[in-house]
């Protein structure tokens, strides 16, 4: 009887929405720039999951193409972002996101 229940697209979309909410919460709450970056990855993955789910339910491969490009851009973004974090941390060790107000004019 349990096997009669099939998870529909809506279930996956709800999981993706909850994952996006958790990622948003993490970016707003955590102060370690590395962990904030990981939370941005969580949000990107939530969007990817939504794309793939809709690609399946609408029988359209273009959703998976979009996910492919999102992954490439996410990889480039992580490389540049971690480079910036490394060069900030070299200057001021153990900086949190709150300490980076040097640009505040």
């Amino acid at each position: 009887m349990l096997s009669a229940i099939q998870p529909t697209s809506t279930w996956y979309l709800v999981i993706a929405a909850v994952l996006f909410g958790i990622g948003t919460l993490g970016v707003m709450v955590r102060r370690n720039p590395l962990v904030m970056f990981m939370c941005i990855e969580l949000m990107l993955n939530a969007v990817n999951l939504t794309f793939v789910t809709l690609s399946k339910s609408m029988a359209d491969i273009n959703g998976q193409v979009a996910v492919f490009f999102v992954m490439v851009v996410a990889a480039a973004e992580v490389v540049v972002g971690l480079g910036i974090i490394v060069s900030i941390m070299r200057r001021r060790t153990g900086a949190t996101a709150d300490d980076l107000s040097a640009l505040k004019g």
Binding site: I15, V29, R30, V35, N48, A59, N62, G83, S87
Partner: protein
Amino acid sequence: MELIVFVLAAAMVLGGAIGVITRSNPVHAALSLVLTLFGVAVMFVSHEAHFLAAVQVIVYAGAIVVLFLFVIMLLGVDRTEDISIEPITAQRPLAAIVGLGVSGIVIAAIISSRSALSVTGDGIDQTTVEAADANIRQLARSIFSNNVFAFEVTSVLLLVAVIGTVLMARRIKLREAGK
């Protein structure tokens, strides 16, 4: 069977995500991120997006998280962050309201538009080919025909990112050499 896979994958995804935002040690947060990424890869497989599932494991779990761990080691920031203090007054309740609000609005939109989920798009139809490598064939056909310009621009983006990062990391050495 599908239900069991879904429940396990959802537990991996949500448990890992909660681990990322609650573990005070960044190494533990990165390992929780791996759990979430594997859960998402399992969901990709259950949607028959086999190529993307493989790329998810290789690129995200294999490259991006390793990069995170390298930076954590390099900077020595693996000291535990004190997450019990709250530097800005009422930050966490407000953040919880915004996070729950975002999730709630999206879930409400999904549930109210359930009937539109079966509308077929005008892209390449996924259901026509029954071969074992149908997913990769269709993906490649779409990328290298309809989206070939975006694909080329992506390669330029990767090149720019690599060169920019190398320049950014080398700047201090160059300045010392100039003195």
